[in-house]
């Protein structure tokens, strides 16, 4: 299975994300934001964390208009898998691949710590290696992770089992304690916590490895 990881000016988790995909068994290609096409045969696109374009205007807003964003949209429209982490979640939300928006943390502070999460989705290709209701710990590092959506949209996410991950203790004011959401076709996941920073026992634990293993396992079956 082939994963592409996009780098924007200001991305800083792109290499870690590539390493995490490789460690899970993916072939990884790196893609630059000015590329207007993805390499042939890409199964999943990773949109990494960082501060793309300096977070100018709004986090992720300028990256969402970059040349690679057009190719990413086509990939998603064709049913391709997309994993957006932290700034990547902000980028794909700005693109409209996921509903809602990520606003300034309710406490106004940048939060950098490990948080406990609950695997909420019953059925998700990104979390199938975890049990529903399982508690995992992943690092967060963000200033704008306050997930916001209108009441109707929130009800829809719950009704359609699209809340992939919830915070055990809400750190940022996110509605419904939402830490990660799935698209309607369940193939796009955006999440604020960093699974790619938790794939090695020597550095930050291995609770995040299940995201990548789930994805690889699900694709092998598909």
């Amino acid at each position: 299975m082939k994963a592409a990881v996009i780098t924007f000016p200001g991305s800083n988790c792109d290499r870690d994300l590539a390493v995490a995909f490789e460690k899970a068994g993916f072939d990884v290609v790196r893609v630059w934001h000015k590329d207007s096409a993805l390499p042939h045969g890409v199964d999943v696109v990773g949109v990494p964390g960082g501060f793309s374009f300096g977070d100018y205007l709004r986090c992720g807003a300028i990256a969402a208009q970059s040349p690679i964003a057009g190719a990413l949209r086509q990939h998603a429209d064709k049913g391709g898998y997309v994993l957006g982490i932290c700034n990547g979640f902000q980028v794909i939300t700005e693109m409209g691949l996921l509903p809602g928006a990520l606003m300034r943390n309710a406490g106004l502070k940048f939060i950098c710590k490990s948080v406990d999460l609950v695997v909420a989705a019953q059925n998700s290709p990104f979390t199938s290696r975890y049990a529903t209701g399982q508690s995992i710990a992943l690092p967060v590092a963000h200033h704008d992770g306050n997930y916001t959506i209108d009441a109707q949209g929130l009800a829809r996410l719950h009704a359609e089992d699209r809340v992939a991950l919830r915070y055990a203790q809400n750190p940022n004011g996110s509605m419904g304690d939402i830490a990660g959401v799935l698209s309607e076709n369940r193939r796009v996941l955006g999440m604020m916590p960093h699974p790619e920073r938790a794939v090695d026992a020597a550095t930050g634990g291995t609770d995040g490895a299940g995201i990548f293993a789930s994805l690889l396992g699900g694709m092998a079956l598909a």
Partner: protein
């Protein structure tokens, strides 16, 4: 021709930064400030000379990039 775009959070969206400013004003002794909303102002220098065309063009800019219409509203002034 110039245009000025004012981007604000929509009225139903909690403005945590505005709330922090309101608290700060209160603690500085400015009584009677019951609400603060914070937004941003973006000024554009345009080559366009027709006001109606400029407004249409700036509206497209707002919808595509300058505002996130999921949470924000915008007002355009052509100057």
């Amino acid at each position: 021709m110039k245009a000025r775009v004012t981007v604000m959070l929509k009225s139903g969206v909690l403005d945590v930064q505005g709330e922090a400013v309101r608290h700060a004003l209160g603690s500085l002794g400015f009584a009677g400030v019951s609400g603060v909303r914070q937004g941003k102002v973006i000024e554009l220098d345009l080559a366009e000379t027709d006001a109606a065309t400029a407004r249409a063009s700036v509206t497209a800019m707002c919808d595509k990039l300058l505002a996130n219409v999921v949470i924000e509203s915008y007002q355009i002034e052509i100057l």
